[in-house]
Symmetry: C2
Subunit: 207 residues, 2 copies
Amino acid sequence: MTGLRARQKADKNRRILEAATGLFREVGYDAARIEDIAERAAVSVGTFYNYYQSKGDMLLATVAMEVEEVIDAGRSIVSDPPRDVLSAVSRLIDQYYDHSLVYLSKEMWRTAMAISIQQPETPFSRRYTDLDRALCAQVSTLVRNLQARGAVREGIDTAAVGAMFFNNLNMMFTDFVRDEAMTLERLKHEVARQNRPLATLISVGAD
Amino acid sequence: MTGLRARQKADKNRRILEAATGLFREVGYDAARIEDIAERAAVSVGTFYNYYQSKGDMLLATVAMEVEEVIDAGRSIVSDPPRDVLSAVSRLIDQYYDHSLVYLSKEMWRTAMAISIQQPETPFSRRYTDLDRALCAQVSTLVRNLQARGAVREGIDTAAVGAMFFNNLNMMFTDFVRDEAMTLERLKHEVARQNRPLATLISVGAD
DNA sequence: CAAAAAGACTGAATGAATTCATTTTTTAAG
DNA sequence: CTTAAAAAATGAATTCATTCAGTCTTTTTG
């Protein structure tokens, strides 16, 4: 059987994670004090810091879970995409966007992004960066699949095009979470507009 | 003559700005304490806060100065660009990148970006966002000029294409400052690679 | 010029994240 | 089963950004 220590550790980690995500959702990231998280998880403040390097680390852990789900959901679109390039790309991106606010508020996204930029060397920041890379790779894979199916011209650098689509959707998402007034619909609409030229031009059959 | 109060205010503002930028450069943003900045500027801590809303505000003020210079320098490229689309776009972008580390370290950029994302409603964040918009508009203007000169096909949505180039260069710059090991040369090279497909496809004379 | 009003300045007090020396619990060794 | 070693947990103390009530300076008014 697993040692007592290992079981207790896993349990505490779960309690802390749940206490933190719950509090973040209820009162927001800033208003959630470590003391409160620790109290809800029934551990001391010091113990919190034995499990997570910082409050930001804790947040990135919750965001990472979210992004992993999104990548999973993307796989089915990548493996069986709409025939039309713009439709396929938009389908994948809209899926990302629609998932994004299920568990996380704009405030939480802002904070998570801020932390991952400011302290890129912490373990959870690396994990976040890796997930970004995985998303980028997924978009590139989609473009490559479309090329294999004859929907994208031969000779196109699919990694470059994928990176461009990804960087665009990512930057636009950043703008989206920065602006409380911006809606998901507008975000999707603008990104689709921006993607159209490249999507059209790489398509087989464009003039 | 200007009132005594106005003169003293301007002088103090200059002293605080210089003390802060100096300390940020010398010891980094995090290690520069408000108390130290105030001491070097020969004012009290409270006075610092009469001039800047927060420590981050102070940093964004210095970044804004930098970005304004870059936009100025970009104007001449936009008004008289190389004939080839990829060359023109790369010329403008490389200019942005080359200027970026003259006054600011990667750490300062990271912190400034983090703050502008996390607290988008503060005055200096708005200024930063506005400058980003101006940069984006400059890239779009370049593409439009190239179209007017017959280097870019008719019918291309130059605002969309400009936004895509800009979001790509901006996201790649973010990745660059996140990674201490990444060089300016590699950044420029990768961005040029990513831009090539779109730049080629919108060019007049592409197959 | 004197008094009042407006504007700045000040630094001690506040509040929250993070640290760290001690204490407690678990595991491993004999 | 003891006991030494290792691992975890603890919470009081520390550190810093930020605030604010009181004081001082400049400007305006009469």
